[in-house]
Amino acid sequence: MPQDSIKVYVVDDDDSIRRALKRLLRSVGYHAQTFESAEEFLEFAPKPDEGCLVLDIHLPKMTGLDLQKKLVSKGANYSVIFMTTYDNPHWQERAEKMGAVAYLKKPFNEQALIAAIDQCRLCRKERIHQ
């Protein structure tokens, strides 16, 4: 699996969640970079602004949904996977309208996240070949 063909960024305010996801992704061969907040991601996000963004909705200041909106308005090309503990149909609808690849309700299966990232990788591949 050419996992190195896509960069994965995880934004979650919980330190141990960031570690757990980083380890999970590492165990299947993905290199993941983690961020504690939307603001930190905006400050440190590497260029080019593309790849797979695994984004917690419930962040302390700027929410995950607001971050996605900001990135879309800047023309960034991230494939976004949302994670949330709260089941809010409005959030899901909003995320899907903005093109989210997946909307994962915590707790979720490891395979669901890996499958969503694989889908991001395929989407990117298709974009490159278009």
Partner: protein
Amino acid sequence: MKTKVILTTLLASTLAVILAAIPAGAGPQESDAMSILKTMSDYVGSQKTIQLAFDSDIEVITPQLEKIQFTNSGEALLNRPDKLRAHRVGGYSDVELIFDGKTVSIFGRSVNGYAQFDAPGTVDQLLEALRLGHGVALPGADLLLSNSYDVLIAGIEESKHIGRGVINGLECEHLAFRNFDTDWQLWVEVGQRPIPRKLVITSKTLNSAPQYTLRVKEWKTGVEPTPQEFVFTPPAGAQILDPNALIELDELPQGAPQGGNQ
């Protein structure tokens, strides 16, 4: 009817066994848990030097839903406010961190490479900078902070004093805390030296709820380290690593665990 009687008897017996296993007066006691946590934090924060040895376990769930545990051992020497030396060795990495109050050096023995960053300030500030800016995971390091109580209580939604347990033959207070996305448990030594003996962090984001476990095997205070112990001298032939390569010094291997089939 007979089945119902047997079932009722069985339930009653089970309940009796469960109740017998719970020590008297060990019900959920939130204030006790916070007070023990504060006592530990105050004690640890008041120690100028700490030398410790630890074992740690990290669980990873493979895409095939197999739970694999990776094990490491290590030691640390802390000299407040601004000196730290820590070493961790496992099956996939052998990493040393040296901080002299100005520069932090992270040396990967297995790759004979190191990365260095300017980090003028205290050990508390260093740990925060490493976590945020470089993604270097130091789980359990929060316990050594001079104000660990303030950091640890952030985000706690529920706390319990479960009772007592024994770690390495030492009686400990067993505390359990619930945060939004994680549960964590802490065992604090009973007596004059309320030090952390075991930490378990359970991630609730993933269905398999992987855990990180840290056990403190040895703990010494009052040691007098020499300044030389916090100086990093790169070994001959050591390469300077790209900061992005620090992930290669993690506690588990890149890629799914292989092993041989039986």
